[in-house]
């Protein structure tokens, strides 16, 4: 005979709150919620430890003179680090450099990849092969790109100068020092063009062919179809890529350091400054941290840049109402 009816329910002796918690935990919904949080637990813990803590800790540190070693001798500086930025000639110089760099890189990258994607969008054969070739430089790791840059742009042994010498003997352009910004732009566009083409091509192929055909039937020529139909429809994608590339360009840091003739030894690489022309803002910030142990000042510089980028991005967002066509119902 079953004894089940004789044993009291396990929750009978609990308080009402505990009982409803237990019941919930045993229920389907409770189980699922528990499992959900179990599944996201690594991300959640990581988010707290590696995002929240560093961000808030870094922000707090930016108001101190932390030197990486002594928490006891740390002083609270108020906004001292931030005002220091405006008196730091190198910081302001590097800010101007990174703005110039972004102003060069972003438009060139956007235009060339858009034009190439548009060309590829025509019904031509071998589109996949072209796309692969255009994307290949993006796959090449940074260090290999550095070596390619070094052997091509070297003042004496670089192939670029040697080819120019065939026509104009005696040319010895210092690509990596005097024309560092130009070289950097060239290399960056070379590596970056692939992703731009892939993204814009995907966006272009999302545009229904009927729209362009309708425009042609209505009497527009190819050029007008591009201007009045294709580009407006692509503005959301262009806008998104514009914001992303600005944010990315403003933080640019590694390639200028590696391409400069001043690099080449490891150890102090993160602290050795590159050529002045490509002395970008984040390079200055990292130099403060890893070269001079001024961690407080370095985090202040970083937060300053983030704020600056926020303002820039806000401006682009504000301007977007003027030129970005959001998804509107058909005209």
């Amino acid at each position: 005979m079953s004894t089940r009816a004789l044993t009291p329910h396990p929750t009978t002796n609990l308080t009402p709150v505990r009982r409803s918690c237990r019941r919930w935990l045993g229920s389907r919904r409770g189980q699922k919620t528990l499992t959900f949080y179990l599944f996201i637990l690594p991300w959640l813990l990581g988010f707290i430890a590696l995002t929240v803590i560093p961000l808030s800790g870094g922000f707090a540190l930016s108001f101190t003179n932390y030197d990486g070693l002594n928490l006891t001798t740390m002083k609270f500086l108020g906004a001292g680090n931030y005002t220091r930025i405006f008196n730091d000639a190198d910081a302001l110089f590097s800010l101007r450099r990174v703005l110039l760099w972004s102003a060069l890189n972003v438009p060139i990258w956007l235009c060339t990849s858009f034009v190439l994607a548009w060309l590829l969008n025509h019904s031509i054969r071998g589109r996949g092969i072209f796309r692969t070739i255009f994307y290949l430089p993006s796959v090449i790791p940074l260090v290999a790109v550095t070596w390619i840059g070094r052997i091509m742009l070297h003042q004496q042994y670089g192939v670029v100068n040697q080819v120019i010498n065939l026509v104009l003997p005696g040319t010895s352009i210092k690509w990596l020092s005097e024309y560092a910004l130009v070289s950097l732009t060239g290399v960056a566009v070379w590596t970056g063009i692939g992703s731009g083409v892939v993204i814009f091509l995907a966006g272009l192929q999302n545009i229904p062919v009927e729209l362009e055909e309708a425009a042609l039937i209505d009497g527009a020529n190819k050029w007008q179809s591009l201007r009045r139909v294709t580009i407006p429809l692509m503005t959301p994608v262009i806008f998104y890529q514009l914001v992303l590339s600005i944010v990315s360009a403003m933080q640019y840091f590694a390639l200028p350091m590696l391409l400069s003739p001043t690099s080449g030894g490891n150890g102090g690489v993160l602290a050795t400054p590159p050529v002045r022309a490509v002395y970008l803002f984040m390079i200055h910030a990292f130099r403060q941290a890893f070269g001079f142990q001024r961690y407080g000042y370095a985090t202040a510089l970083t937060w300053f840049l983030v704020l600056f980028m926020l303002v820039l991005t806000a401006f682009v967002f504000w301007s977007s109402s003027k030129w970005v066509h959001s998804e509107s119902p058909e005209k």
Partner: protein
């Protein structure tokens, strides 16, 4: 005036010319790397242009592998990349699945947090995380990558969530009706069918670490560092003079895995790129 089809032929030809021209220009640096890696040192360190090595110095590749403990650094790179990729894929797939398929209180709010994290510029983490890891005394080791891997990647969580959302729900519903718990559903039904997403995610993460120079320079010593860091400085001969062409050979070897993987997995990699570019 020309016929319509003749005009079209002309237009297509012009397009082809431009595209082929650009393709050649983009390929020249890669080809030049290959050619120069086969030159004798004096053919590189010369004032005039040497278009083709006479003869090709295949021993540069032998030198590349023997002049330094090349295999050790390849192993370091491979181990570090695998650890990070394996951990990241696991945690991101779990989170992605949870966000896609497990209803719970706070799910959508937490996912907004994930998306918001994507917008944070990466530079802001470098210095604080370095201080964090220094305080934990785990710099000069692979531990930072273990922690990064365990923390999952917002981008890959997003990828997996998208993938799982498109997954037909019938299989999971059937298993649920049979009484299977979520962990079992995930491990035995969902994951085996998620191979494309898992492969893409693993490869993207693996290549990310393989090609990384900044974090590896920051956190590793000469003993346990990756190939990337080792290759930044050139090889030297016993007298202390730099040997550029063997270094280039080493660079070619270093580039081979990413390029090979790219050719094999193009479709998936491009899909990942498109997701990141169009989702906005």
């Amino acid at each position: 005036m020309m016929t319509a089809s003749a005009l079209r032929w002309l237009r297509n030809s012009m397009i082809y010319i431009v595209l082929i021209g650009v393709a050649l220009i983009l390929m020249i640096p890669v080809i030049w790397l290959l050619i120069t890696s086969l030159k004798a040192e004096h053919e590189y360190v010369s004032d005039h242009l040497v278009l083709w090595p006479q003869p090709p110095q295949w021993q540069n590749y032998y030198l590349a592998v023997t002049r330094i403990d090349f295999l050790k650094y390849v192993r370091n790179s491979a181990v570090l990349s695998t650890i990070f990729a394996g951990l990241t894929v696991t945690t991101s797939a779990m989170a992605g699945y949870a966000f896609a398929r497990i209803p719970a209180w706070g799910r959508s709010r937490l996912f907004s947090v994930v998306v918001a994290t994507l917008l944070i510029p990466g530079s802001i983490y470098v210095i604080p995380q370095f201080i964090f890891y220094s305080q934990l005394r785990i710099t000069n080791s692979y531990w930072p990558w273990v922690l990064w891997g365990l923390a999952a990647s917002p981008f890959h969580i997003f990828l997996f969530r998208q993938f799982f959302q498109a997954f037909p729900v019938e299989l999971e519903e059937a298993a649920e009706m049979d009484g299977a718990r979520i962990h079992r559903i995930f491990l035995q039904i969902v994951l085996p069918n998620a191979l494309p997403a898992v492969a893409t995610s693993f490869i993207l993460n693996f290549l990310g670490v393989w090609g990384d120079w900044v974090m590896t320079t920051l956190y590793l010593t000469d003993e346990n560092t990756t190939l990337a860091v080792k290759l930044i400085s050139s090889y030297f001969n016993p007298q202390g003079y730099p040997l550029i062409t063997p270094t280039l050979a080493a660079a070619v070897l270093y580039v081979l895995p990413p390029v090979l993987v790219f050719f094999l997995m193009q479709k998936y990699i491009m899909q990942g790129v498109v997701t990141s570019g169009l989702k906005g």
